[in-house]
Amino acid sequence: MSQGRHSGLRPGLLLSRLALVLACVFLLLPILIVIPLSFGDQRYLAFPQNGPSLRHYQALTVDPWLGSILQSLSIAATVALVSTLLAAMFVTGIWLRRRFGTLLTGVVLLPIIVPQVVSAMSFYYLGAQLGLLDSFAGVAFGHLLMVLPYSVITLLVAYNRIDPAMFRAARSLGASVGRAVYDILLPNLRLGLASSFFMAFLMSWDEVVVTLFISGLDVITLPKRIWDGLRYSLDPAIASVSTTMVALTLIVMVARLILAERTERARRLDPDD
């Protein structure tokens, strides 16, 4: 252990370890409480009293929850796809032509420090001018602008790992720019593209502030429905929806980790890489 000769029963060390455990429990407490609640067997929100039950999950298989789940899924999938595509085009472009790259990247990343509520105000203004309030297109557009900078960061990181010599070699052997991008860059970007998609998907799936401003009666995403449920009463369906969302997040995280590990292994095995 790196504590060297001071490791052992030092009280300070014990105390800081105990504090670490408490901090981790604090961070995970919401998950630990939500999962058992979701299996409650009473009509109201309560821990299981006569054994676990799936009744609160049944509520998710019918409207209004089902409609919101489907709406959120379709918005998140659209946003993740378009965001990854646009970010990939941009990052590929500035990788090929570096002039103004830093400046343009700065412009594209700047929205990160804009508070969500300020972005929401801007999109509300835009939606009001264009008549896009409370529509699929309007909400998806708002989400898209919120997640784009994160797709760009993810892909910038992915591009950092690509050796420009590979691309130059393909070009000097006669490949057109398009062909070299398709055959050389894209295969090496797979992990970055997948990460960008997952991240954008989760962020849109979870987005609530912008949605509250620009949606109304027609578009009620899952987070908006949860928000309504939390404001007025504690609907037990929120527990099952939360557990489902946690499970989905974990699945996406694990899928990304597995993909990253596989890519890393392929990289190590392939001596030409």
Binding site: A19, L27, G93, V107, I113, V117, M121, Y125, L126, V246
Partner: protein, 282 residues
């Protein structure tokens, strides 16, 4: 093969420009529109900004926002320091475990957190019930739908945001420097105070800047856990827009909030260098 210039043109038009153009159209133009609203609604003039400087209620909201953000930053950066410190000296497996906890928490939806805290903290919630049952208290404690609940929820949200940028600067602390101090007779406390702490200060500063800036715009957590008793600027904007239909004041406060974020970013950039702050994000 196309000539180099037409190729460059194609790359600019089809690959590079769509995104910056979209950001300008989607952000810059409507933000200018919001700025316009702040000077024209309900009637042309600067009366909205005059109200920000004078009206007691607005001053209360702005000071409360700053107070809650400061408190949140201090507590969550402190907790994050502890986690990052233990991470720095953990075994590889211990490190993985800590990273997993932080990442799971990082991706946890704000709404799920708020829901869980409401269940835990409300009058007949898990914590009050337990304390009553143990006989430690006689009446339920007011733990939520007040400023305490809002700060607790915000700290919970911000800890991962503080931990992640700190890990880099903690990783870079050289073991040999620490060992040199120890072999010269420094106590563990002295190593922490005189060697480790100064070396990790830039990472901590970056984390503080990030947490404070993100806290300024907090909306969901204080709105749900503050229960109307801890209304911060963002929630106040929402109320102006959708309960009072006072678009001019909503727009004005959005501009004020943006200005507060920019000023904070500039101060932190001045004090600690933009490179450190941005580098901390990677």
């Amino acid at each position: 093969m196309a000539s180099p210039t037409s190729e460059t043109l194609k790359i600019w038009v089809f690959l590079i420009l769509p995104l910056p153009v979209l950001v300008v159209l989607g952000y810059v133009v409507p933000t200018a529109g919001v700025l316009g609203w702040s000077f024209t609604l309900p009637e042309p003039g600067v009366q909205n900004y005059a109200a920000v400087l004078e009206a007691q209620r607005l001053q209360t909201v702005i000071w409360r926002t700053l107070r809650i953000c400061l408190l949140t930053t201090v507590i969550s950066v402190g907790l994050a320091y502890l986690i990052a410190y233990r991470w720095r000296f953990a075994t590889p497996r211990g490190r993985q475990l800590i990273e997993l906890v932080v990442l799971v928490s990082f991706w946890l939806s704000m709404l799920i957190r708020a829901f869980a805290w409401l269940v835990l903290l409300r009058g007949d919630g898990v914590i009050n019930q337990t304390l009553l049952w143990l006989g430690l208290i006689e009446a339920p404690l007011p733990l939520v739908r007040n400023e305490f609940g809002a700060v607790l929820g915000m700290v919970h949200f911000m800890v991962p945001f503080a931990v992640l940028p700190m890990l880099n600067s903690f990783r870079e602390v050289d073991d040999r420097v620490l060992n040199a101090a120890r072999s010269l007779g420094a106590t563990p406390g002295q190593v922490l105070r005189d060697i480790f702490f100064p070396l990790t200060l830039p990472g901590m500063a970056a984390a503080s800047g990030i947490v404070f800036i993100f806290s300024l715009g907090s909306f969901v957590t204080p709105a749900l856990l503050g229960g109307g008793r801890a209304v911060m600027l963002a929630e106040y904007i929402y109320l102006q827009m959708f309960q009072l239909s006072n678009w001019g004041m909503g727009a004005t406060l959005a501009i004020v909030l943006m200005a507060m974020v920019v000023v904070t970013a500039l101060i932190f950039g001045r004090l600690f260098g933009f490179k450190n702050i941005v580098g901390g994000l990677k």
